[in-house]
């Protein structure tokens, strides 16, 4: 194996942002893991490459924290799939994170644009 992590490759995510992206993905309605990955890839125009496996620990963590609810359902191709949905707490968390992200992103942009 010997995988060594480079400091920042394109598409690597800032720590903590994955949770926010998941919450955002689910703000549009319930979805299973695969849809969430597809959404993040698509919406970021393939810039943000979520390591697909890393999604599941994050989903379970959010579920345990009570930000998501999960239910087993049947997928479009008739398979048993686990669907996640935002809870009220999850919605509040998303708002807080988004506001925070805006502030930080704007601040970083200002710093970078200073001559």
């Amino acid at each position: 194996m010997g995988e060594t992590k480079k400091a920042t490759a394109v598409g690597d995510m800032l720590p903590g942002t994955l949770d926010m992206l998941i919450l955002k993905a689910l703000s549009r309605g319930e979805a299973h893991g695969y849809t969430i990955v597809q959404f993040i890839h698509g919406a970021s125009r393939d810039v943000l490459k979520v390591e697909e496996g890393a999604l599941y620990p994050a989903l379970h963590r959010l579920e345990v924290r009570g930000l998501l609810r999960a239910e087993w359902g049947t997928s479009e191709n008739n398979r048993r799939a686990k669907y996640y949905r935002l809870t009220a707490a999850g919605r509040r968390e998303l708002e807080a994170e988004a506001a925070y992200w805006d502030r930080v992103a704007a601040a970083v942009t200002r710093v970078m644009q200073t001559a």
């Binding site: 893991g33 695969y34 697909e52 496996g53 599941y56 620990p57 963590r61 345990v64 191709n77 686990k82």
Partner: protein, 898 residues
């Protein structure tokens, strides 16, 4: 909170959750694969790409599972299961390791349970930490304990403010004359507060009242122990108010109470209690200078020992001013009761605790060595696990869990060992443990054992665990399992061997010193010849019992004869001397080492310069028959024993021990010099004339009498009712015990006999503590030697097998067997040498700690050298055998072996 609940649920439903996770991931893969297929990839390529895209499945699954379980608990469960499986797979290793640990942990548990049993809380009284004994002492060349006098005690009690109460206590034997054979009963003379101080109340009747403590009107009342009440009164519920006859004073005592079962007084052997007012004659009780008993006291809550001490010091100073004649340089020592009762056991047990801890360390070193050897063969396994995503901490935790499982198994077996060992120790111990101190494998001991074994597990698991971390994974995977462990691991193993050797050296030296010290003790000249001597004590009734019936009716009653012994000592001696096998018989009011102690008296030598109170000469007085010296083979340095004419109560003849002469007439002829009792030449006692001088006799202790005060001997004249008898025999003395008993009973069946023992047994009982320690040290040292040798052998064999290839090359290049032998043995010898040097240095450092247990030896003793030689020899043998095997290596096979 919510998360915690989730996790609790997850513990119960983990199967289901595991399955769900699998399903969820399977769905993801299926979706991804389907997408790739629509992109035009082949089925295989799609699956491959989906996996790659996903990442390390096992690792992520594990991470996910961690979200809803207690990750540490979860992995702990796995580790234990895994550990048990690995241990089952190598039963040989497991057996050796568990056995070594069982010896070490079991030994520690056994000794700990003994130490624990004599902690102060084990005293069967409420709040035992506040119980103390007060001992009067005197400042002479050093401070000597003397006990209290009754007037001093009354003043202490009246003036001190540190104690809830104080009670005088002393223990003596009394003869109970019942319907059957007379019996000697251990009796405690106690002041009324005694029972409330100890917090015990009677099961029946009452204990003593303050009014019964008045010396002028002593109440003849007695409280019985539960055992005595059942044994001699058949547990009679009507016993209160009955009377019983106690001899010596031949007085009637009224039973007022019975104590609850298990209460045996401070002496732990008492069966009766009588008021302290009966302790001695009123005139003796009034004498401030007659001291001999200790007082029991209970510290008030919140009063420290130091505060109480300064309180008593102030009282002592006042008494010193008020009564300079009797109280000059007198003070009070306050000693916790637990120290008084357990003090003599403690140093020996603590030494043994240290010794057995060393044994455990050696066992741990062995197990650590085995684990290192194993971890080297397991490098591949560990590398694979790392490759599969196991974190370093996780691996370390797993190795430590494995070693903890090992040590806990060892502890389980060790507990079985300990159970057997403790009962054997108690049974074999020549030191009597208090009846209430019952070493048991209770919760505290179990906790101790678990703590010790987990500490060992951590210790032996971390050493190979830290080594096992090989960052270079690809190499580890490629390398064959047989390849040599790194240099670093060899260094650790060598260090372990050195540690084992040095620990074993310390223990062997310790054991050698103990053995030597006990031999010194027993080889010591006690001042008499203890071989082939039988000793016993008898209590001869002072007065004849009233005649059974008048001789004939009508004859006028004869005037009652004066009280006299029923059987005079001389008659008894003649009967005993006639027994076949008895060479000589003698009688004394006390005997050497009979632990009666005796009491010392002041005396004055004629023409001595005036002395101050500190330096006032004291002597121990013995009354003996003329044959006493020859029977015990006490050598005469000058003069002679008493003549028959001198055997009278008014005889001025006295035999002194050499200490008297050394002090007052050094270099002069002492025969004919005079001395008398009393602290000053003006005393009214008659002068006594020295007729003989004998060597010093160890009457009161081995290796030395507790104080240097000499002894004097006066003729025995039947004035004493308690006598000690010594018989020098031509046959083994113990074979005569039954005959002697029968002869005494034939002379007078009312004479109680006790303490029948050979003089050798008496000497042995005095040295018993040392011998007990020696014996255990020997056992521990043997364990240590065995474990260390096994360890050295294991490491050397391993090193040889590691170097097979190198040895093969050397042989191929022309080295001969001798060279190889020298190479391997030299390697081991270096380690052993370093270990021995460290061990000897440590022995010298530790010697101070055990000095109280040693007599007449230092670490530089030959015994220590002998121990080291034994260790070196056995250790070299453990190196030699693998080395010999190395010389038989066939170069061809060796080179092929890779």
């Amino acid at each position: 909170m919510k998360a915690f609940w989730h996790r609790l649920v997850a513990i119960v439903r983990r199967r289901r959750l595991d399955r769900d996770l699998d399903d969820e991931l399977a769905f993801h893969f299926a979706m991804r694969e389907a997408d790739y297929r629509t992109d035009g990839l082949s089925a295989d390529a799609a699956r491959e790409e989906a996996r790659r895209q996903f990442g390390n499945v096992t690792h992520l699954k594990e991470q996910t599972r961690d979200m809803w379980t207690f990750p540490s608990l979860e992995s702990f469960r796995q580790d234990i299961r895994y550990a048990l499986r690995t241990l089952r797979k190598s039963p040989g290793f497991t057996f050796v390791a568990v056995f070594a640990l069982a010896v070490g942990i079991g030994g520690n548990t056994a000794i700990f349970s003994l130490v624990d049993a004599i902690r102060s809380r084990a005293l069967p009284y409420p709040d035992p930490d506040h119980l103390v004994q007060l001992w009067g002492n005197v400042q002479r060349t050093r401070v000597e304990r003397r006990g209290a006098s009754y007037p001093d005690y009354l003043d202490w009690r009246a003036e001190s403010k540190s104690f809830e109460d104080i009670a005088a206590v002393d223990s003596q034997w009394m003869t109970f004359v019942g319907s059957d054979e007379p019996e000697r009963i251990q009796t405690e003379f106690v002041a009324a507060p005694y029972f409330s101080l100890l917090g015990v109340s009677p099961a029946r009747g009452r204990v003593f009242e303050a009014s019964e403590d008045i010396v002028a009107r002593p109440a003849q009342v007695v409280v019985l122990s539960d055992g005595f009440w059942k044994r001699r009164f058949g547990a009679d519920p009507q016993v209160i108010g009955r009377t019983l006859t106690l001899c010596c004073a031949a007085r009637q005592y009224t039973v007022v109470g019975v104590m609850p079962p298990g209460f045996k007084g401070l002496s732990d052997t008492a069966e009766m209690w009588v008021p302290f007012a009966m302790y001695a004659s009123p005139s003796t009780m009034a004498d401030r200078g007659t001291r001999g008993f200790a007082a029991l006291a209970r510290l008030k809550p919140g009063v420290s020992l130091a505060a109480a001490q300064s309180d008593m010091d102030a009282i002592s100073r006042r008494l010193e001013q008020a009564y300079p004649n009797t109280n000059e340089k007198r003070a009070v020592e306050i000693s916790p009761l637990a120290v008084e009762l357990f003090g003599q056991l403690r140093p020996a047990l603590l030494t043994l605790m240290a010794a057995v801890a060393f044994v455990l360390l050696i066992a741990c070193a062995n197990v650590a060595n085995l684990l290192i050897a194993r971890s080297e063969t397991r490098r591949r396994e560990i590398a694979v696990r790392t490759a599969l995503g196991a974190g370093r901490g996780r691996l370390l935790r797993q190795l430590v869990t494995e070693s903890c499982v090992l040590t806990l198994l060892g502890a389980a077996v060790g507990l079985v060992f300990a159970r057997v060992a403790v009962s054997t120790l108690i049974a074999q111990s020549p030191v009597t443990f208090p009846s209430f101190a019952t070493p048991d494998l209770d919760v505290r001991v179990a906790l101790f054992t678990i703590a010790v074994s987990l500490a060992c597990g951590l210790l032996v698991g971390l050493v190979p665990g830290l080594q096992a971390h090989t960052p270079d994974l690809s190499n580890a995977l490629k390398e064959s399992a047989r390849s040599s462990g790194g240099r670093q691991s060899q260094r650790v193993r060598s260090a372990l061997v050195v540690a084992e050797v040095s620990l074993a050296v310390v223990l062997l030296v310790g054991a050698g010193l103990m053995i030597r010290s006990v031999r010194n003790l027993t080889a010591l000249n006690p001042g008499f010849d203890p071989l082939s001597v039988l000793t016993l004590h008898a209590s001869i009734p002072r007065t004849s019992l009233p005649p059974a019936a008048p001789a004939a009716a009508g004859t006028p009653a004869a005037p009652s004869p004066p009280p006299r012994p029923v059987v005079e000592g001389r008659v008894l001696l003649d009967r005993l001397r006639a027994i076949p096998g008895v060479a000589a018989v003698a009688l004394g009011n006390d005997l050497p080492l009979d632990s009666g102690g005796g009491s010392a008296s002041f005396y004055t030598a004629e023409g001595q310069p005036p002395v101050n109170a500190q330096n006032m000469p004291r002597i121990y007085v013995h009354r003996v028959t003329p044959e006493f010296f020859s029977t015990l083979r006490i050598p005469f340095l000058q003069g002679r024993t008493f003549t028959d004419a001198e055997v009278s109560p008014t005889s001025p003849a006295v035999v002194v021990s050499e200490g008297v002469v050394r002090r007052f007439w050094p270099g002069q002829d002492p025969i004919g010099k005079r001395l008398k009792f009393g602290g000053s030449p003006s005393s009214t006692d008659p002068w006594l004339t020295i007729v003989g001088v004998v060597g010093e006799v160890k009457y009161r202790g081995l290796p030395q009498n507790p104080t240097a005060d000499p002894d004097i001997f006066l003729p025995f004249t039947d004035r004493n009712s308690l006598v000690g008898l010594v018989l020098r025999t031509t046959v083994p003395p113990s074979s005569l015990i039954a005959t002697v008993r029968a002869e005494v009973r034939a002379a007078d069946r009312s004479i109680p006999l006790y303490n029948i023992a050979t003089m050798e047994e008496q000497v042995n009982s005095v040295t018993s503590r040392s011998r007990f320690t020696m014996w255990l040290m020997g056992v521990f040292a043997a364990c240590a030697l065995m474990l260390a040798v096994v360890g050295i052998y294991g490491v050397m064999s391993y090193l040889v097998s590691q170097r097979t290839r190198e040895i093969g090359i050397r042989l191929a290049l022309g080295a001969n067997g001798q060279d190889i032998l020298r190479l391997v043995v030299g390697n081991g010898a270096r380690l052993i040498g370093v270990g021995i040097v460290i061990g000897i240095a440590a022995s010298f450092a530790l010697q101070r700690l055990v000095s109280s247990l040693l007599f007449g030896v230092t670490a530089a003793d030959a015994a220590a050298g002998f121990a080291v030689v034994i260790l070196a020899a056995v250790a070299m043998l453990a190196c030699y055998l693998p080395a010999l095997r190395a010389t038989r290596v066939s170069p061809l096979n060796a080179l092929r072996s890779e």
